[in-house]
């Protein structure tokens, strides 16, 4: 009987220690969240991102998948835009472009702000209504949230020449 009681007491004590650990560590864990502005650089913009873009009052729209390399260049990129925005565009077609990784580049300063030069090469199979090759520039701002690989999880941008239309645009990129 005494042995049984002792075992139960030990079990309760073990649970108590566990409770203490959970209770005391919970506030500490949340206190570790970043507070101060992080020092960011091009190295924080790396890996694969998907982006949504629009310009000219959101009349021209596109989605992008691209891969900044963390050093001011890109390893790949694809942009697909609605063909419905262009004269002669169809109700079902899209315009596809591949990023020129040789000519495209980006910069990020210590405050997490930067610029991009994106050179897009039109697919030879695009409908004739699609714009030809074009260069777009963006002003980009990185969020303060980074993943375990030190890459930011989101960036917002303002653009100047989406789909060669020469109109202000905007959008965001997500991990």
């Amino acid at each position: 009987m005494s042995r049984k009681k002792n075992s139960i007491s030990k079990l309760i004590a073990a649970l108590g220690v566990l409770g203490l650990v959970i209770g005391l560590s919970a506030p500490k864990a949340s206190a570790q969240a970043p507070h101060a502005e992080a020092t960011l650089s091009a190295a924080n913009y790396t890996g694969r991102y998907v982006c949504r873009s629009a310009s000219d009052g959101d009349f021209f729209t596109a989605v992008t998948k691209y891969n900044p390399n963390g050093a001011g260049r890109y390893t790949a990129g694809t942009l697909i835009a609605s063909d419905d925005a262009f004269i002669g565009g169809s109700a079902s077609a899209f315009c596809t472009y591949t990023l020129s990784t040789v000519q495209s580049l980006f910069t990020i300063n210590g405050h997490g702000l930067g610029f991009e030069k994106l050179v897009w090469i039109a697919s030879s199979t695009n409908p004739v209504s699609c714009p030809p090759n074009f260069i777009d520039n963006t002003a980009i701002a990185l969020r303060n949230l980074i993943n375990n690989n030190m890459a930011v999880v989101e960036a917002d941008f303002s653009s100047g020449n989406l789909l060669a239309q020469g109109k202000a645009g905007h959008g965001y990129c997500l991990k």
Binding site: G16, L18, G19, D58, N137, A168
Partner: protein, 185 residues
Amino acid sequence: MSKRQGLASKLFAVLGGAGLAIGICATRASAQAKIPPPWTNANFDNRYICSVSSDANQFTGVMKINPSGTGVYTAGTLNASLSPFATFNNAATPPANFCSYALNTRASGYAVGSKGIGTDVLSWTFTAGNAACPPSFVMSDTFVIRNNITANKTVPRTDFTSNNFLGQHASTVAPQDPGYGQCLK
């Protein structure tokens, strides 16, 4: 021996119960501390990046602002697309196709109400870009802050409606200039 074991058992049980009670209470207390209202200026603090546009998205920009948590800003930068004001230049370096501004921290400020609705005045000083860029301007915003906060008691996102982004309210091209956007941690 049996008596000593009994005492030890009781001691374990008391310590265990106390440990559980403290653990549970501490967890609950930390959870409760994270939930305003009332909201204050302190909940809008540190670094945010913002996407802003106006006049049906004809004007666009990205901002980085640093609210102090006390109603003023310690820094801020705005880069806005030049395209509404001058022809996009394919040959230019990317910054040349944008208008850049620095926040005049002395002339800017914000106030967060107890219900999490705030107002701000952002005074932007032109710093670099094409001669066609709008000059320095003052914009005003009303913003709402999200209901979830970080462990530092700061909100991760605000959404705002704005007046006079890029100073276009009085322009001849766009005599009205309503805008909107969001700011993210």
